[in-house]
Every structure is written in structure tokens, then in C-alpha cells.
């Protein structure tokens, strides 16, 4: 599958990555290689194969419903840029 230069620019916007004009061609050809690999995988016949839920064999271990966490709020909130009355403050996003 061939990509356009605009596709790469658009991907950069979606991924919030600044893409240097000079690297677009290089990124474009590398992404095309990835897509080629995907195409190759698509040709495999999987009709009678159950989707794999997890690469490791085995099942989820469960834990007891007991409180094991202490309140480390102070330590966590030191990592935050903006905190008030215990709330993490973020730029307003209202859908």
C-alpha cells in the first residue's frame, strides 16, 4: 500500500508528533514497509483458527478482595503540575 506525504503529516498531527519536512519521505517508505508486512499477514488463512486471547498459555490469577493499598496521595500529587483541594487540575475538556 502506497502512502501520500499528506498521510504522514496527518498521522503526525494525530500522534501529536512534530515531523520534520525533510524526514517525511523516509518515514513514508518505512511505514509502507510495515503496511506491506501487514498485507503479508492478511494472506494467512485463519478461518478455522480461534483468535488468540493472549500469547502466554494460562489463566488470570485472581486476588482476594482485601485492601492492600495505603493512601500515597501526597507522593503522587507531587508529580502533578497543578493540584488543588486534592484534585488534579487539567485543561478543561468538555465533550
Amino acid at each position: 500500500m502506497k502512502l501520500k506525504r499528506d498521510d504522514v503529516t496527518q498521522l503526525g498531527i494525530l500522534a501529536k508528533l512534530a515531523i520534520d519536512e525533510n524526514t517525511i519521505n523516509d518515514i513514508k517508505s518505512r511505514l509502507e514497509n510495515v503496511l506491506e508486512l501487514v498485507n503479508q499477514l492478511q494472506t494467512a488463512d485463519t478461518v478455522n483458527i480461534d483468535p488468540m486471547a493472549h500469547p502466554q498459555q494460562g489463566f488470570q490469577a485472581l486476588r482476594e478482595d482485601q485492601i492492600t493499598e495505603e493512601n500515597d496521595q501526597k507522593a503522587f500529587q507531587k508529580l502533578s503540575k497543578d493540584v488543588q483541594n486534592g484534585l488534579y487540575l487539567v485543561p478543561k475538556v468538555i465533550e
Partner: protein
Amino acid sequence: MRWDTVIGLEIHVQLSTVTKIFSGASTLFGAKPNSQACAVDLAMPGTLPVLNSKAVDHAIMLGLAIDAEIPSISVFERKNYFYPDLPKGYQTTQLERPVIGKGKIPIVLEDGTIKEIRIHHAHLEEDAGKSLHTGDFDSELSGIDLNRAGIPLIEIVTEPDLSSATEAVIFAKKLHSLVTSLGICDGRMAEGSLRFDVNVSVRPNGTNELGTRTETKNLNSFKFMEEAILLEVGRQIDILENGGSVIQETRLYNGETKTGYSMRSKEEANDYRYFPCPDLLPVAITASHLKKIRQTLPELPDERSTRLVADYGIGKSEANLLAVTKELSEYFETVAITSKNANQAANWTLGELMSRLNAANLPIIESPVSAEELGILIRRICDDTISGKIAKQVLDAIWKGEGTTDVIIKERDLKQLTDTKALNKIVTSVISDNPKMVSDFINADPQRRKKKLGGLMGQIMKRSKGQADPKRANDLLSHKLHQIINGEGN
């Protein structure tokens, strides 16, 4: 044109576990913001989820209670979307292989018929945090409280089997009764423990093709749910009758202003890029574990209702009402046993007591009148110590903490007047003081005499301050009036 309404529900049930679904942080309601958000809930790098066994067991209990398929393997997936109250950038949920498959919940409609509502599936997932858009901070900012992030939820998805707002509310109440009876949810709707999303569409009466539906999200009371559905049905019919078309959209309902509005300005196809969560292995549910959980299932509302009818001989509709919660049916049973009159016990519990509890907004377990005391009160009606009317006064006094049944009756001299001599005196005086009413009775045709008799009985009850034994007084009055008719003098 006549229209049919088609409703499907998605219900989020907060599970009453002590800790979160994937971390050992507390789920206690009402804690200070972010005091119950640990490294896992905050999506700190390097943390991994470990599934809470209680959340899985609660899901199994629900599955068994709704007669659902419970597959031996279920898988968690990531639902990717960006929002500040979702620290990981995805919600851990289930899609392709949910923990509960197809099931059904029967409901009793208003006319007494039973309708089976099909459950499409139910799955386990984590709740998101809370965004506060106003507060003691810059209006350009939002405050995020992640205490709720990671609280276990079961999302139940019904088929579009409900045909009116009333049916939807009956179903919602049944589900509330079911999850609280199972003990898997505290049922506190005001705290968001049970939240309903309603999918509504309309179609011309008698047609089969579904109309375009809208989804109204996050309704947290039965009343709001009913109002929101009625409003949305009306809105859709208006649009269609005016030649327009309904837009598929997500809507919100404001219970205070009684208005609905669109949540998203334009329709967008969500691409959540679901994929199996690599941090969690598939969950296995063995046949022996299922059997173990089945043995621990408590009595469910439908079973309880059947038992109340069988054990106490009360009517099915009363039994259904009493069986809604374990607490209410236990209360009734104590009243029935103490009073030795189950029908009166059902009537007084559902009538006088419930209306007082509802007015005071109290749950049955906080009733100021104990079940034993109500039982004794009913016994005093049945043994003719007091009349039903006086009993209501006594109930009010017990409610206010002014004493017990027998003490109140004695201290206030409320004992029913059963003495024939005393009653005779009252009856005679009422007859002689109300010649017009007496002649009306005599001149009335036999069918209408009953009503005329009632007027005189009212006078007797008034004169005796409500204490005359109504049955005896009635007998005496009839006897005397017939003596007059037959010319036997008074």
C-alpha cells in the same frame, strides 16, 4: 398516526466490593478526592492490574440469577479513548467474550401478565474517575478525582424488548431488587451505584422495522428515567410527524429543568480500537466454581414472592411488593407471625407503614415502628380491642416514640367500646337526635338502605370518639331500625 415505542437499556451496576477491580485500593464512597487512587488506578508506569476475585464471583451470581450462559473463558479488552478522568487512556472492559452471555429477566406488567426481557450479555469493566468542571479553581481548568477510577462495574445490556416508559421502570425496579437481593450492589442510586442508559426509538404502529434510536445516558433515578423516556418519545414523534428524521445521537436529560439535549453536536463514528488487554490473561470459570457459587445464592425476589404466597396465604400482588427486598419481606414476616393475621400484616406493612416511611424518606430497616410492635397493634385490631381507625392514631403515636401499643391504648383510654349497654345508649341517642336520617333510611328502597345506614354509623362513631366497636354498633343499629320499620317501637 399511532406509534410504537421500542426501548433497550444499558445498566451500569457498581459492585459492592471492598476494593477496586484491578487494585487493592478502597472503594468506600465519600472519601476525600484522590485519597483512594493508588498507583494502579493512576496508571503509573510499570503497574499491572490484578483481578479482584469478588468482582468475578459477583458477576457469576448475577449470571446465575438471570439464567444466563456463563462461558468457561472470558477475556478483558482495552477500549481506547482520550479523556482526563481515564488515566490509562483506555478502559479495561470486555467485548468479544464477556463474562455473562444471553439471559432473561421476567417482569410483571401492570395488568399482571409476565413479560420476559432478554439480556443480550453482561460484562465486567472498570469505572472512570470524575471530572469537576466548576470549583475553587480557574474556569479554564477541570478538577479530576480518581477515587472512582477502577471501581468494578457490571454493564448489563438488554435486547430492545421494552415497549413503554412504564415497562422500562418496572424492569429497572426489578433489576434493582435483584442486584440488592444478591448483595452484589448497594443499590444507592443517588450515589451512582446503579446508572441507566436508555436507547429509544419509535416506529409506526404494527410495523417491524426499527426506527433510528437515540441514547440518553446516565439516568440515576427511576423518576428521571421515566421522564426522560416520555420526553424523548414525544420529541421523536414530533420530528417524524413533521416530516423530519431522527438523528442517531447521544443525549442527556436534566431532571431539574425536565429537558433533554444532545451531548454531541455532530454524529461521529467512535473507533475505540478494542483489542485484548495484554496485561490480563483470560479468566477461567470452572464448572466446580460455578457449582460452589450456585450453592451460596441467596433467596431471590421471585422465589421469595412464591414462598410468601405459599407460607402466609397472601395475594400474589402483595407478595411481589413485599418480596422486593429481603429487609421488607423479613419485616412483613415478623409482623405476620406476631399478629397471627398475614393479610392484615401485608395491608398494614404496604399501606400505613410504607406511606409513612416514604413520606419520611426512611428505609424499612430504619422504621421507627418495629415489626413486633406493628404485629401487636394488628393483634389488638383482630381481638377487637381497638378499631382500625383508632389503630392509625396509635401507629402515629408509636412512630413518634410515645410508647408501645398496649401502653398507648391504656393511657389514652382508646379501648374499643364493646359493652352492649353503653353502645345501646349511644345508638338510641343517635336515632332520636337524627329523625330525618332515620326516616330517609325507612323510606329508602332496600338497596339504598346500606348507604343511609352508613350516615347513621358515622354519627355513632363521632359520638363515641371513634371508639365504638363498628361491627357491634352496626348490628345494634340495624336491629333497632328494623324494629322501627316493623312497628315494634323504639
